[in-house]
């Protein structure tokens, strides 16, 4: 298991413990001593992960990815401004404004993104407000209620059913104590705790209860041996902080895009620098051209567009119960190729429910859906009547009062998981259970304990003519059967012969094989003669028969899968996503759930299944034939990384059972080694390292612990696996849409760059100015780009395989070439036609324009002659030049609109 060196307190005797911690079991610590220890060790609470200062978060939004590109653009503009100002050029201030606008864009977008993330952080924060935990402590020989964070090592605490264990505790006394370790190990089965030293491993031994686990039933007293971060759970939580955060796929894509744009910008820039130098431009002018070209390549509007698109998607996902903490994670889910899902709570409903019944030699299935109101199985048999009576009466669980208006499944019950399941089951089938119990008054009761392994109660019957007492009993099926001599078949008691016992065994094995918890039920009507009305039952001396009873039936329970999960899993499948179950639960239960939700499909077999079918030893089975695999944590421990890789590679359907938090981490790493983008779901503290390690960690909003939510990138507000599928769809959609946005944005980039290049080479009057370009990039083009984020998904979006990280880039060669060399050039040609038209209609025929740059821009020339012999002053020429800007601007804008409209018709042009 974990390699944490926990002290060997579980071996020590009570007196040794008292000595070690300087405490007394009866009196506890003295207040002064406790205060001293508290000062030394600090409060008993997990240190929250170091929060990044808000200012750092804010600044982080300002750098990285696109922002860098824009910053570089801004700095270059300012350099250019400086040079031009020194030269005394007239239009120098354009560059200053350009730089300022670029900076403002980055800052505003940063503020926006920061605001978005802060908003989802706030939603998260509202979840984590919990009532401070209280603990019952003996100090100064007095019992005191005090906040759990005041506990120190050596304190004597008392716990009872329903409490959360306030620290790591060595038990010194226990009565029927059971703890739910699921938050630590993921195992949903409650485990009994006593004061006996049962195992060398402190994590396996029964006499230690761990911080953050829950005491399900019974009472116990113990000495606090670890507090705060030194507890087991604290150490697991600190594992998470040691795991580095991965770069999100979209961040990698954007980086790639930035390189691409920078590459294009610098290549064109240098090329034209060389050209302009060889055309005898001044070096300084050439440098200004170089900078101009580089800056012109910066897609000013894209940063804002991408941020807005991502946050729109994040908003949409939040509506569908996926809360995204980090904007970039919005897309990650879309590129996910493996989902490592926790079982309890995510795939299942996280509550025991009756799944099967066995009576009259037949297995019946019960409805396990979340909102059951009736049970469809055949209820006409008298055996069922008898069984239902036992189920109803031999049960200590009760509904909390005042919930009559709630659906049965939603009502809160006092009692353990199995009894709760039975109570709700009975309530659904029979109606008012409390009333039935009231009519069949309980006269005696023996609660369940681990030595008896049964629970028994004796009731008066509600039949006024029948004065007999009814003894009802439930418990471990084999123990119950031992006490029976008859069995009820179709309402009649029949002797329990070997054939019937065989049938029982078969049914028991079958239900057990489904991973279900099976309970046996039997009853006995006590003869009126021996047990008259006035008879006093004594549960200690057991003055009533507990053998030769009549066996009635079996009920099996399971934590059933959520009804939406099988569909979601199959959707993941068709979307090419591998779903791996990683759970702390038993392999059998895990496999059963995996089968019922489709993680292991109906037709596939594990190595063990094949061995069983062919009746050969497991070793002889050809491992390639098995598509599914159920791997136990113990096996995993002995595996080398290669073996793990092999399993991950060769089997398409994998279940990992009985895994520890560290193993979860290993599994995630293994998947990532395969080049997969891994999503991990989890709720417990134990999941937090894996959540952090994953490309996208998904925490449960309702059941999830704070540690898990902190480590995750996304929170499922409804704890429902099906929401992940929505997330995947949205993620893929945003990737597609971003592709469209970028194609759209890059296109006009060329149309904006070309004029500058032609201006340099052909020395024509400047076709479009910096400010005009900014108007396009940050004005007219922003809204259509954002509109692309609203594009509906293509119909096959969930039938495609997840994109290949290495091959399916956000911006690939094809898209760049398509945008730059095809559409971009077309737009440039179109815009130049308008440009030349405007000049020609004003008197400057295209032939007159070539090579005029120097005279055109000369302030001293006020009689510049056009093609018709008219003469223009400098101001008039500038005015005409502005008209040309407008023409160019309008032309690009219209062409962009056309392009956008066209992209609706040709949906597949981006792939």
């Amino acid at each position: 298991f974990l390699s944490f060196g926990i002290q060997d307190d579980h071996r020590l005797s009570t007196s040794q413990l008292e000595e070690k911690y300087g405490t007394s079991i009866d009196k506890g610590l003295s207040s002064t001593r406790a205060a001293e220890i508290l000062a030394r060790d600090g409060p008993n609470a997990l240190t929250p992960p170091k929060a990044t200062p808000e200012i750092v978060k804010f600044l982080k939004q300002m750098v990285g990815g696109f922002s860098i590109l824009l910053w570089i653009g801004a700095v270059f503009s300012w350099i250019s401004f400086g040079i031009q100002l020194a030269q005394g050029a007239e239009s120098a201030f354009d560059n200053l404004y350009l730089g300022v606008v670029l900076a403002v864009v980055v800052i505003l977008t940063g503020i926006f993104a920061y605001y978005q993330e802060a908003k989802s952080t706030n939603i998260m924060a509202s979840f984590s407000k919990m009532i401070p935990q209280q603990a019952l402590v003996i100090r100064d020989a007095e019992k005191k209620e005090m906040p759990a964070d005041q506990l120190v090592v050596g304190d004597i605490v008392e716990i009872k059913g329903g409490d959360r264990i306030p620290a790591d505790i060595r038990l010194i006394a226990a009565q029927g104590c059971k703890v739910d370790n699921s938050s630590l190990t993921g195992e949903s089965e409650p485990q009994s705790r006593s004061c006996d030293f049962t195992h060398e491993n402190p994590l396996e031994t029964r006499n230690i209860a761990f911080y953050s686990t829950t005491c399900v039933e019974g009472t116990a007293t113990g000495i606090v041996i670890n507090t705060g971060d030194r507890t087991i759970i604290g150490r697991i939580a600190s594992l998470a902080s040691g795991v580095g955060n991965e770069k999100t796929p979209i961040a990698i894509e954007i980086e790639h895009f930035v390189y691409l744009v920078a590459g294009v910008a610098i290549s064109i820039g240098v090329l034209f620098f060389i050209i302009s130098v060889s055309m005898r431009y001044k070096i300084l002018d050439s440098i200004i051209f170089l900078i101009g070209i580089i800056v012109a390549n910066v897609p000013e509007g894209l940063l804002a567009t991408v941020t807005v698109s991502l946050s729109l998607t994040a908003k949409r996902m939040a509506k569908k119960n996926c809360l995204v903490k980090n904007l970039e994670a919005v897309e990650t889910l879309g590129s996910t190729s493996i989902i490592c899902s926790d079982k309890t709570g995510t795939l299942t409903q996280n509550r025991m429910t009756v799944a099967h019944l066995w009576f009259d030699n037949q297995i019946y299935s019960a409805d396990t859906s979340e909102d059951q109101t009736t049970q469809p199985f055949d209820q006409s048999s008298p055996s069922w009547t008898a069984l239902s009576k036992i189920v109803t009466l031999c049960n200590r669980a009760e509904f909390r009062p005042g919930q009559e208006n709630l659906p049965i499944m939603k009502r809160v019950v006092v009692g353990d998981a199995s009894e709760t399941a039975l109570l709700k089951f009975a309530e659904v089938v029979l109606g008012d259970v409390m009333n039935i119990r009231a009519r069949n008054k309980k006269v005696a009761e023996i609660p369940f304990n681990s030595t008896n392994k049964f629970q028994l109660s004796i009731h008066e019957t509600d039949d006024p003519n029948d004065k007999r007492f009814l003894l009802v009993m439930k418990g471990a099926p084999e123990r119950i059967l031992e006490r029976c001599s008859t069995i009820m078949i179709n309402g009649k008691e029949e002797p329990l012969d070997s054939e019937k016992a065989e049938a029982f065994q078969t049914a028991y094995m079958e239900l057990g094989g489904l991973g279900e918890r099976v309970l046996g039920f039997c009853h006995l009507y006590l003869p009126e003669n021996d047990f008259p009305d006035t008879y006093t039952f004594d549960t200690d001396s057991m003055n009533f028969p507990t053998s030769n009873l009549c066996f009635v039936g079996l009920l099996s329970m399971i934590d059933p899968p959520r009804s939406t999960v099988p569909d979601a899993v199959s959707k993941c499948r068709s979307a090419g996503i591998k779903v791996i179950m990683v759970t702390g639960d038993h392999p059998i239960t895990a496999k059963a759930i995996a089968k019922s939700v489709g993680i292991i499909s109906a037709t596939s077999e594990t190595v063990e299944d094949i061995a069983k079918r062919l009746n050969i030893p497991v070793e002889q089975v050809n491992r390639q034939e098995a598509t599914a695999a159920v791997v136990n944590g113990m096996e995993l421990k002995d595996m080398s990384l290669q073996e793990l890789d092999e399993i991950l590679c060769n089997h398409s359907e994998i279940v990992f059972a009985r895994t520890s938090p560290q193993q979860k981490l290993i599994i995630v790493e293994g998947c990532q080694r395969q080049g997969a983008v891994v999503a991990v779901t989890g709720d417990g503290v134990n999941d937090s390292p894996a959540l952090k390690k994953a490309d996208i960690g998904i925490a449960m909003g309702i059941a999830g612990s704070d540690a898990a939510k902190n480590a995750a990138d996304m929170v499922l507000l409804d704890d429902n696996f099906a929401s992940i599928v929505t997330g995947v769809e949205e993620g893929r959609l945003i990737f597609d849409n971003l592709k469209k946005t970028i194609a759209y944005t890059l296109t006009k980039n060329i149309a904006e760059l070309c004029p500058f290049l032609i201006y340099i080479i052909a020395s024509i009057p400047m076709p479009i100015g910096t400010i005009t370009i900014l108007f396009i990039d940050l004005g007219t083009d922003i809204i259509p780009s954002v509109a692309l984020a609203y594009e509906k998904a293509e119909s096959d979006i969930m039938n495609r395989r997840p994109r290949n990280k290495k091959k399916d880039r956000l911006v690939n060669e094809q898209l760049a070439i398509y945008s730059y060399l095809q559409i971009g050039i077309m737009q440039s040609v179109g815009a130049f036609v308008t440009y030349f038209t405007v000049y020609a209609e004003q008197g400057f025929l295209p032939s007159t324009l070539l090579g005029v740059r120097v005279d055109w821009e000369n302030n001293a020339i006020n009689d510049f002659e056009d093609s018709y012999g008219q003469q223009w002053t400098k101001y008039q020429r500038t005015y005409l030049q502005w008209t040309g800007y407008t023409a160019f601007f309008v032309s690009i804008t219209i062409q962009q609109v056309l392009y956008l409209t066209g992209s609706w018709w040709d949906k597949n042009m981006y792939y």
Partner: protein
Amino acid sequence: MSKETKKPFRQSVAEWRQFVYNPNSGEFLGRTAKSWGLILLFYLVFYGFLAALFTFTMWVMLQTLSNDIPKYRDRISSPGLMISPKPDTALEFYFNKSDAQSYAEYVSTLRKFLETYDDSKQSQNINCTPGKVFDQNDVAVKKACRFNLSELGQCSGKEDKTFGYSKGTPCVLVKMNRIIGLKPEGEPYIQCTSKEPGAVEINYFPSGGLIDLMYFPYYGKTLHAHYLQPLVAVQLAINSNSTNEEIAIECNFSAFKPGVRTSKYETASCCRCCFKLP
């Protein structure tokens, strides 16, 4: 966690070489010759088509234009003024009357400029009626009015070959930009002012800086090939008492005498000239 191990340098060079030319598959820069050929062909056809489209559109556009007058003249509603000679850089004259070299360029420029106004070149031009707009809308062949150099008086270059520069009374010719169809009303004239009154005395030829209406309107390069735009010579007599080394002159065009302001061609300011004296 991508633990990218750095490739040895030799290997990456080999990979690059493989990328540039792969002898096994015959790939050059990742593509075979055929593939490159197809790509080139595609772009050749594509760009060829675009070029054709561009040319065609331009041709159609040019067909819609008249040869004689531009379609729109709204960007030049008022005429600008320009002077000759025009110094290379800004409109700054710098000369020393005792140093012939310092103004030789101005003189030669003026001389060259006035060549087109030489009588021999104006043989086809007619003498028009002064004071009246010379409307030739109905005439197919537009005539040009004669501009007599003698109107420039001392600045005509006939008496003083240095246009007054040698005497410290430099001449500058002011002309109004040609604009097709422009018909000034009233009595247009050019007036120049100095920032420092009294520092310079300004003489105009023709006197009063008047521009005769008969030179308007202009019908464009093709129809009105021999058109000569009217000139006004401005002679500056710099006051010898002036201590200023720099004299700034600003000339304005006005269609009307001060006080009567109704025309749309009201004023057009021009060139602030600056004379730097030694």
